[in-house]
Symmetry: none
Subunit: 231 residues, 2 copies
Amino acid sequence: MTSAPVHVLLVEDEPQMRRFLRVALEGGGYRYLEAGTGQEGLALAVQHRPDVILLDLGLPDMDGLELMTRLRAWSQTPVIVISARGQETDKIGALDVGADDYLTKPFGTGELLARIRVALRHADPGAAEEPVFRLGRWQVDLTKRQVVVAGQEVHLTPLEYGLFTTLIRHAGKVVTQRQLLKEVWGGVAGAQPLYLRVYMAQLRHKLEEDPSRPRYLQTEPGIGYRLRLED
Amino acid sequence: MTSAPVHVLLVEDEPQMRRFLRVALEGGGYRYLEAGTGQEGLALAVQHRPDVILLDLGLPDMDGLELMTRLRAWSQTPVIVISARGQETDKIGALDVGADDYLTKPFGTGELLARIRVALRHADPGAAEEPVFRLGRWQVDLTKRQVVVAGQEVHLTPLEYGLFTTLIRHAGKVVTQRQLLKEVWGGVAGAQPLYLRVYMAQLRHKLEEDPSRPRYLQTEPGIGYRLRLED
DNA sequence: AAGAGGCGTTAAGACGCCGTTAGGATTCAC
DNA sequence: GTGAATCCTAACGGCGTCTTAACGCCTCTT
């Protein structure tokens, strides 16, 4: 059983702390990403879908709690807060807006790594499912980022793939247009429902047998789209 | 929406600490159980299936880590360790044998309650079944936005679905016309009682066995409509 | 018994949303 | 600097959905 590398995103502005954690995390066998601002952190979370996020509350451009709220609007990725502020009200506030753990500086790398393991264990039920999604002639390997249709590999652009996997993650359920735009485009300002129509059309052409009569990629008029499961 | 009371099991030998936590937990709205030894703790966990377990590592009859191991052999109940030992190796050991959090004494009640809420949040996705509404031949999955009649999926337009789910939300009770127009049409100016007649007719055609003699979607003349529950 | 008001039914027109296509802008690699 | 891939944007035709009107039935009133 080989598992895909685990990605950790660090959102922290102090260079000293970043260096310290980079060493600790890479030493622990994790792939490492870093952001110095809240904006950058949100962008990287959208692009790379890390498995865990380490978040310093004291950011230059955005309140940590606001970042938590905006992240939780579309993502359930575990967040471990790292803060110099040890006040109880800070902890309660962060935990109640969706943080999964709260670590007060200074802390040891061993404890941090142990708490990351706990966070991954919690997220596991979602990830422990087969990393391969099968439906009809489709076969999607979410770790390899590979899509196979009727035995033939099909190339998807980043946005197409993002749209597709978002529907897969909510398989069977209707996903509203607003939610799709949020999860795929990451809350970018100019995101319009028009984008969805264009990329859904492209997806159907690449994946559906009869693109004009989609079997799985269905429209819910006025609401959004759904990946239909049963036949 | 009323939810079942949440049970918390405390495994702790110091009477003083027990008194302190009893007040904190009952004040927080939790049902409270306590055990003074590891043996008793395991027994109570089996009998009462608490939703969260608070575990002091320093027990008289059993090492805390051993208790963790024996508990995890059959139960995934969230465990928050409470300990006077703040050594990093203690924390790592406890977290790695299955604890979900580690709190070092002394701590505030607010933080404890917040961390209990986090633990409950983690346990939730597994326990949260899909909210499916069943009545006669009907089966409505409110998360999937899917309506099934006699095993056959039926497509509803946004207004039809809105009207139907509004009646479901007030199942059994009469919903006035004014209230329906408000909840479904969202305070649009031109909303008329005529709309209700049209869409109720469409709903009955799509859902009722004999649309001219509705069994569930009943009219309350002069008042509004009601979704009848009993047969 | 006749009238009035409320309700169910149907159909047709208006409207908005969706699918589709294509061209230009942008980014990235070489 | 050039090329390819990808993304954004606009335009248009078609179709589903919503709105609206007309008519018949029923019930209650007087």
